[in-house]
């Protein structure tokens, strides 16, 4: 047993690539998971602009003083606010990806809340280049605004009840500086009852009838006002959303793009890496490259085989998914362009893996182990991690074909824009990985 263990350790020691993968892979995955947990989406960085004057923070609703800054603190329990001085600065931070989104409280926010007549508006800015992120921003802001709305709603309900009480019981009412004595339905009923008994005209009774008429008018006006109040009670604060960058890709269509890209990645990488490694495992490589096929030709053949097979498989997959999800069939030629470009990108990476490794099993393992983290990294949205870390993940994603393929496919499927840029990116990756594969083939053959 002991000697078997020693033998296996010696073999591992002499397999530096495998050992490196075994060590580095869990470390990378652990770091990624750690980042996801420590900087998860429960506390996104959000630029925050408060244009409400400090003095206007306290408003009067239903005869009570309400400190609106208390509701702001509620919001900060759920986000990491990055305080900025102006709306322009907030927009710049969103555009640069430094923050996930921006929340702007306009100066008239509390004034509108205090009026109780029309909803107060807040502004939200975010990038929608990734629909998952867009949905996340929407959900986060909406849930926080709903909390604030619920709190304000209580106060406004109290106001509405006050108006109703005024109409029924009567009393003093102020509106835009004018003061009214409201008779109230109860008193009006009593007066009418008395008046009916003393009906003679042109007497004091006629004045009382006049009072009843005035009450009727005010009651009607107040009931009209109640409509607005009730609307405001429904949604005291309204969110105005502004998308700064990216299209309005539906989440299910984006999910299709992700699913197809992942499938394209696995099929192409495993096929390209495996078939090239197989040539060496079958000892046929040396026989082939001694004049029958050039090394470059061999790489091209493996790459095209893998890309072609994956293209057909994923195109069929896309067509199948289109039966269940509304995709734009008139963009079918663009689907094919994006899939073909992505397949070539992954194929170039696959042959590079196949050229570096000597066996099919090692090639498959390496292809599989590389695939998951690059897909994971490519899906990290801007603003969900610190700017520096996001730059690192973006740089890493840029040297693998997953992100540009996803961008290309998203653009082709959803008219999200940026198809040309993604295609150029993929073309550069094909060249880069092709070169790496060619050099590796010379080095390891």
């Amino acid at each position: 047993m002991r000697w078997l263990l020693v033998k296996d350790l010696q073999i591992l020691k002499r397999s530096p690539l495998l050992v490196a993968l075994l060590v580095i892979y869990p470390v990378v995955i652990a770091v990624l998971i750690g980042l996801a947990l420590s900087r998860g989406p429960d506390k996104p960085r959000v630029a925050f602009v408060n244009e409400v004057p400090t003095a206007a923070n306290v408003i009067q609703l239903g005869g009570e003083n309400i400190d609106t800054s208390k509701y702001g603190k509620l919001l900060f329990n759920s986000i990491e606010p990055v305080r900025v001085d102006s709306e322009e600065e907030a927009i710049a931070k969103v555009k640069s990806g430094d923050v996930l989104g921006a929340l702007v409280l306009p100066s008239d926010l509390t004034q509108k809340l205090a009026s109780g007549i029309e909803p107060a508006h807040v502004k939200v800015y975010y990038n929608a280049e990734d629909p998952v992120k867009a949905r996340f921003v929407q959900d986060t802001i909406n849930s926080q605004v709903q909390k604030a709305n619920a709190a304000v709603r209580k106060k406004l309900t109290k106001i509405a009840l006050g108006y109703l009480h005024l109409i029924v019981q009567g009393g003093q009412f102020s509106f835009f500086g004018r003061h009214f004595d409201v008779l109230g339905l109860a008193k009006a009923e009593a007066i009418l009852r008395v008046t009916l008994k003393q009906i003679p005209k042109n007497t004091a009774a006629s004045a009382q009838v006049a009072a009843v008429q005035q009450f009727a008018k005010i009651a009607r006006d107040n009931l009209d006002l109640s409509d607005n109040v009730l609307k405001t009670v429904g949604e005291p604060i309204v969110v105005d959303q502004h998308v700064l960058r990216g299209g309005k890709t539906p989440l299910d269509a984006f999910a299709v793009a992700v699913a197809v890209t992942v499938s394209l990645m696995f099929v192409t990488l495993l096929l390209a890496a495996g078939t090239l490694a197989l040539e060496r495992e079958e000892n046929a490589f040396a026989r082939l490259v001694r004049g029958l096929v050039s090394r470059t030709g061999l790489l091209a053949e493996k790459g095209l085989l893998a890309a072609g097979a994956a293209f057909v498989v994923t195109l069929a997959m896309l067509a199948g998914l289109a039966l269940f999800i509304d995709l734009a069939w008139d963009r079918f030629p663009l689907w094919m362009v994006a899939l073909a470009a992505g397949a070539l990108g992954f194929a170039a990476m696959g042959v590079a893996i196949g050229a570096i490794t000597r066996e099919v099993r090692a090639a498959s393992l390496m292809a599989f182990m590389l695939s998951l983290p690059i897909a994971f990294l490519a899906l990290v949205p801007s603003g969900s991690v610190s700017q520096g870390l996001y730059d690192v993940t973006s740089a890493i994603s840029a040297v693998f074909p997953f992100k540009p393929t996803l961008d290309a496919l998203n653009a082709a499927l959803n008219d999200a824009g940026g198809l040309g840029k993604a295609l150029v990116h993929l073309a550069l990756l094909v060249l880069g990985y092709g070169l790496l594969a060619r050099v590796s083939l010379r080095r390891f053959a």
């Binding site: 079958e282 000892n283 046929a284 040396a286 026989r287 082939l288 001694r290 004049g291 029958l292």
Partner: protein
């Protein structure tokens, strides 16, 4: 030597600090079977790989381009998932043979594999697999055939069949150069032996000449071991 189909002059090769071949020269004539023998690490496979064009030499010259030489690697370089005929057909096409089917039929007949033509190579015995391996090396009907340890994985009966086949090729005019660890096999089948040690050619001639150089040894294998010992290997 007259009628030499293959000539190598001062071939050298280094792997880092190690000199794998030191100015090795050899010839192989039409119909001649030449054995390259030597201890492990002597440079036998490196020499054949350079002549076959698998590796590039650091120095020296070769009279033939790799494309003009048939090569049979030590381990069968065939596709296990393809049938015998499919393997032959594939390589015949890659060799750009004019009549692929005729070439395949000829090689199946020549190697006695007609009955196994439609069997996957992975189901064949080691001997039959080696026959397919050799058949692929002969598809282009080369005048020079290189075989790297051709009988290493074969049992005695399969070995004998293989040598019958190779002798037949030599009789038809092919120059055969093979490497082996089995010095008795070299003595039996080669018309000439080359002894390599530490990348250096230390003997070239007939088996009996090597025995004579050593003296009163019991057999060729003993003579070979004694020869190496005397030369400090």
């Amino acid at each position: 030597m007259t009628d030499a189909l293959l000539e190598a002059r001062s071939v050298s090769k280094r792997f880092g600090d190690r000199e794998a071949l030191r100015g090795v020269s050899l010839t192989a004539a039409r119909g001649e079977i030449v054995a390259v023998i030597g201890p492990n690490g002597a440079g036998k496979t490196t020499l054949l790989s350079i002549i076959a064009g698998i590796q590039k030499p650091d120095g020296g010259e070769l009279s033939r381009s790799p494309a003009e030489v048939g090569w049979v690697p030590q381990q069968a370089a065939v596709y296990g998932k393809l049938t015998v005929a499919e393997n032959l057909r594939l390589f015949a096409r890659l060799e750009k043979r004019p009549d692929v089917e005729a070439v395949v039929d000829r090689m199946l007949h020549q190697t006695g594999l007609e009955a196994r033509a439609d069997d996957q190579v992975s189901t064949l015995s080691g001997g039959n697999r080696q026959r397919v391996n050799i058949a692929i090396g002969l598809l282009a009907q080369p005048e020079v055939l290189l075989l790297d340890e051709p009988s290493a994985s074969l049992d005695p009966r399969q070995r004998e069949r293989l040598w019958q086949f190779i002798r037949g090729l030599a009789e038809a005019g092919t120059a055969v150069l093979f490497s082996t660890h089995n010095v008795a096999e070299a003595e039996r089948n080669a018309s000439r032996v080359l002894v390599l040690a530490d990348g250096e050619l230390i003997f070239e001639g007939g088996a009996s000449e090597l025995e004579a150089e050593v003296g009163d040894e019991r057999d060729f294998e003993s003579a070979f071991v004694e020869f190496l010992r005397k030369r400090g290997h």
